[in-house]
Structure formats: structure tokens, C-alpha cells
């Protein structure tokens, strides 16, 4: 019987071969936050459905969302959304050949990463202020 094994193909160097660069890290985080937000759309759907279904359903949603684990997940969702947004703006710029040299690409990547984290914190501080918790 003839062998049906596939031909050995050369492998391209994988992650551990490369020197760390911020654009590489941001690329990985962009994918991870994207996948996280994919699952996180369930939260958005649950929120809207709970409002649509009435006060009891909404109270249930609020009690889960208001628990410490719920708040942690919601903070993660907020950060992931803002990070994916800021990070994604870089890709839109690069699609249009803007900020495309190595140095500028690095700079806007650092700005996106730091600004996203700062913005997520600020959003939550404002949210707590609005609720009178802070």
C-alpha cells in the first residue's frame, strides 16, 4: 500500500525565535481581545434582553453584573473593547500607509496600549462617580 504521508515542509520560525517588539505584542493582544469581545457580545445581548424582558430579569442581570466577579469581567470587557478599538485604529492608519515607518509604528503602538489602559480606568472612575460609589 502506498504511503499517503504528507511531504515534510519547512516550518517558518515561530514566536520564540523573534525578538520582542511592541507591534508584535499588540498584534497578539489584538487577536486575544478580539476573541474575548466575541464572547463578550453575549454580555451585551444579555443586558439588552434583560431590559426587554422586564424588571425581574433586569434585577437578575444587575445582581450578577454587580457582583465582584461580574465587575471584574465587565472591567475586562471595557478594557478589551477600548484596547481593540485603539489598536484597530493603527491598522486602519497602516492600511492607508500612514505612520508606517518602524519608529512611528512603535510609537503609536505604545500610545494605543497605554491610552487604552488609562481610558478603561477613567471610564470606570467616571462610572463609580456617577453611581455615587466614589
Amino acid at each position: 500500500m502506498a504511503e499517503t504521508r504528507q511531504a515534510e515542509r519547512p516550518l517558518s520560525p515561530h514566536l520564540q525565535i523573534y525578538r520582542f517588539t511592541i507591534t508584535m505584542a499588540m498584534s497578539i493582544i489584538h487577536r486575544i481581545t478580539g476573541a474575548g469581545l466575541y464572547v463578550g457580545t453575549l454580555l451585551l445581548a444579555a443586558w439588552l434582553l434583560s431590559v426587554a424582558m422586564g424588571p425581574d430579569a433586569y434585577a437578575s442581570f444587575q445582581s450578577v453584573a454587580g457582583s465582584w466577579i461580574g465587575q471584574l469581567i465587565l472591567f475586562g470587557f471595557t478594557w478589551a473593547l477600548i484596547h481593540h478599538l485603539f489598536s484597530g485604529i493603527r491598522y486602519l492608519m497602516w492600511d492607508n500607509i500612514r505612520a508606517f515607518d518602524n519608529r512611528t509604528a512603535d510609537i503609536i503602538s505604545w500610545i494605543a496600549a497605554v491610552a487604552a489602559f488609562a481610558a478603561a480606568i477613567i471610564v470606570w472612575i467616571v462610572a463609580f462617580k456617577l453611581r455615587g460609589v466614589l
Partner: protein, 120 residues
């Protein structure tokens, strides 16, 4: 849908590329709107939440956000599947599951938004 040897849809790749960028562009303001909306309604009581989400302009923006999100997330997840899910059967299954999940989340959310708006 036709598949290449690697199972990537061949005919729709350019279309997916284009939709991914258009939906991304639309989601720049829409995501900011969504964050502002969640911020305004975080911890609010039922009546307030219903009042805000029942506003026609808010409702339309929410629905646009959902539509752009569903288009964007499906293409993004397809890309992840292309990269990591090997084998003909698993690949097709993963893409079908992705499609169903995206449509279900989209329909559920839009149903809720319309129910709040019109109150059927």
C-alpha cells in the same frame, strides 16, 4: 462556498477584507457610543435603562452597533479559525458554529432592542 486546499474560502476573501475594514471604520464612533451608553446606564434602575434604550436615536445606534459588530466579529473569528483549526471537518464545523453564534447574538440583541423600542 468553494474551498481551496487549505479550506480558506477563496472567492469571498477580498469581500471579507473589505467588510472587515468598513465595519471597523463604522465601529470607531459606534464603540465610543456604546461605551458612553454603558457608562450612562451602569448601575441604573430598570425604568431609567428602559427609558434610555427606548429612545429612537439610541435604539437605532444600538442596532447599527450590533450589525457592524456581528459582521466584524464573524470575519475576525473566521480568520482565527483559518489560522488554527486544521482538518476539513473541524474547519467547516468551526466556521458553521461561528456563523450560527454571530447570527444568534445579533438576532437576540436586535430583537431585544426592537422590543424595548416598540414594546411588542
Amino acid at each position: 462556498m468553494s474551498f481551496s486546499a487549505s479550506n480558506a474560502p477563496v472567492k469571498s476573501a477580498t469581500r471579507a477584507f473589505s467588510i472587515q475594514r468598513k465595519s471597523a471604520l463604522a465601529l470607531v464612533p459606534l464603540a465610543l457610543f456604546l461605551i458612553a451608553l454603558i457608562l450612562a446606564l451602569s448601575g441604573s434602575d430598570y425604568e431609567t435603562a428602559r427609558h434610555y434604550l427606548g429612545n429612537p436615536i439610541v435604539s437605532i445606534l444600538v442596532i447599527l452597533t450590533i450589525l457592524a459588530t456581528v459582521a466584524h466579529m464573524r470575519i475576525g473569528m473566521n480568520e482565527i479559525i483559518d489560522d488554527y483549526v486544521q482538518g476539513n471537518f473541524l474547519h467547516v464545523l468551526a466556521k458553521a458554529a461561528n456563523f450560527l453564534f454571530s447570527v444568534a447574538v445579533g438576532l437576540g440583541s436586535i430583537y431585544a432592542a426592537l422590543k424595548i423600542l416598540i414594546g411588542f
